[in-house]
């Protein structure tokens, strides 16, 4: 699962551009990750210019 830090996110869509399964929905000032579709590749975490995405291992 990926956690989104809304305080850091700029809704720039860089994460969307690299997502291999297109599981990130980007609005003007909101992003949503579909955890059912997500394959935990974590490319979105790695590419985020702002460090706004984090892997959540709790589940």
């Amino acid at each position: 699962m990926i956690d989104i830090n809304e305080k850091l996110c700029d809704y720039c869509g860089t994460c969307v551009s690299v997502c291999p399964v297109d599981c990130i929905e980007l609005f003007e000032a909101k992003i949503e990750i579909d955890n059912d579709k997500c394959i935990d590749c974590n490319l979105c975490v790695k590419i985020c210019p702002l460090g706004a995405l984090e892997v959540n291992d709790e589940n």
């Binding site: 850091l8 700029d10 720039c12 869509g13 860089t14 969307v16 551009s17 690299v18 997502c19 291999p20 297109d22 929905e25 980007l26 609005f27 003007e28 490319l43 975490v45 790695k46 590419i47 985020c48 210019p49 702002l50 460090g51 706004a52 995405l53 984090e54």
Partner: protein, 391 residues
């Protein structure tokens, strides 16, 4: 609101506006949808363009232009500065894209295009024979299905419209720059010089830029190649740079964004759909500059789309002519630039320092591309092989 259109353009950036404008020229009904509340905002761009190339695309309005660029200054990791004066034909502008993008959309609307902001497209519709024939969208809060003969995906680097139609648009990590930029004021810089800081020290696999918008204000940003990026690294590098070089500066704006650094997508058309601009990966793979190539690409696509509407042939095989036109105009050249980019990203900080020292020893008026090439080739003999493969 009217629900049947000839053409629906998704995305209101420069590529979208050019394509909308061009496809409306012969009387097609064209709708352009922008997801954000205002065209041109936020500006996720360093705003640099070549003067001559811009003039070929559109009549330039002085109010778009913040500064004129006649020199570049490339700074190596050990702070060796290499200045190069442009010939007149290579002069650049730093634009104000907030005004520029707005005016391009205005030009489109004056040519008969209907423009809507706060319009988010979240899906496509398909005919029984699999042709894209419309979009599912939320327009100013209303869920609507809008029908079209052709959809133009100009939705930027995210490029989801293409994915909705089954095209593979996701960028590989080695082909994307993770970018960040601040509009910085309260500084003292030469308003006519673009600065580039190269090497891993500043931006691994990319570069840091200072593009002046005046003598005391600039776009300062950097891009790190995806496969050398870690979460938040671009922000960390930029913040460190600003702390060191401009500790008391003001930050008027702070944005992030992905930069496609690759060849044009292999497939940019399908039945009833074309992709343009960053969505089709048309930015210059070496520099990441995407304004002019996106505009040229949008114009070329718009022309073929207008023809397709006129002939009522919405098939992939007809629309493929746009792909061919583009390949001739810029696409083929981008394949070369892509190879050069892959060479440049192989250079180490030591390579950059060595090359910068040698080049800076040549008097500025005698610096030429050929001389720089010779120095680089001595340092990296493999370059000769790479270049032979390219040309």
């Amino acid at each position: 609101m009217k629900t049947n259109w000839d053409v629906i353009v998704v995305g209101g950036g420069p590529a979208g506006s050019m394509a909308a404008l061009e496809s409306a020229k012969d009387g097609a009904s064209v709708l352009m949808l922008e997801k954000d509340r205002e065209i041109g905002v936020p500006v996720r761009c360093a705003e640099g363009v070549g003067v001559e190339s811009l003039k070929k695309l559109v009549k330039v309005d002085e109010k778009w232009v913040k500064t004129k660029i006649d020199k570049i200054d490339i700074i190596s990791p050990d702070n060796t500065s290499v200045k190069v004066k442009f010939e007149k034909k290579d002069y650049g502008y730093i634009l104000d894209r907030r005004i520029f993008d707005n005016d391009l959309a205005l030009l489109a609307s004056q040519s008969g295009v209907t423009v809507k902001t706060k319009s988010y497209v979240h899906g496509l519709t398909f005919s029984d024979d699999g042709f894209v024939n419309g979009v599912k969208a939320n327009i100013l809060g209303k869920e609507l299905i809008l029908n079209s003969k052709i959809v133009i995906g100009a939705d930027g680097v995210e490029s989801r419209i293409g994915r909705f139609a089954g095209l593979k648009t996701a960028l590989k990590m080695c082909d994307i720059g993770s970018g960040i930029q601040a509009v910085v004021s309260g500084i003292n810089i030469d308003p006519n010089t673009m600065q580039f800081y190269v090497g891993d020290k500043y931006a691994p696999g990319g570069y840091l830029w200072i593009f002046p918008k005046g003598k005391d204000i600039a776009n300062i940003g950097l891009g790190i190649l995806g496969d050398r990026c870690d979460s938040g690294k671009p922000k960390e590098k930029l913040d460190n740079f600003l702390d060191k070089y401009f500790p008391n500066c003001s930050i008027l704006n702070y944005t992030a964004g992905g930069i496609p650094l690759t060849k044009t997508l292999d497939k940019i058309v399908t039945n009833g759909l074309v992709l343009i601009g960053d969505a089709a990966h048309t930015a210059n793979p070496m520099t990441g500059g995407g304004i002019l190539s996106g505009m040229r690409n949008g114009k070329i696509a718009g022309r073929r789309v207008a023809e397709a509407i006129e002939k009522n042939d919405l098939s992939e095989s007809f629309l493929k002519q746009y792909e061919k036109d583009w390949h001739k105009a810029d696409g083929k050249n981008h394949e070369r630039l892509y190879k050069i980019k892959n060479f440049i990203v192989s250079l180490t900080d030591d390579d950059f320092n060595h090359i910068a020292k040698k080049v800076s020893a040549i008097p500025i008026e005698k610096r030429s591309v050929v001389k720089v090439f010779k120095i680089v080739a001595w340092r990296k003999p493999s370059l000769i092989l790479d270049i032979i493969k390219v040309f």
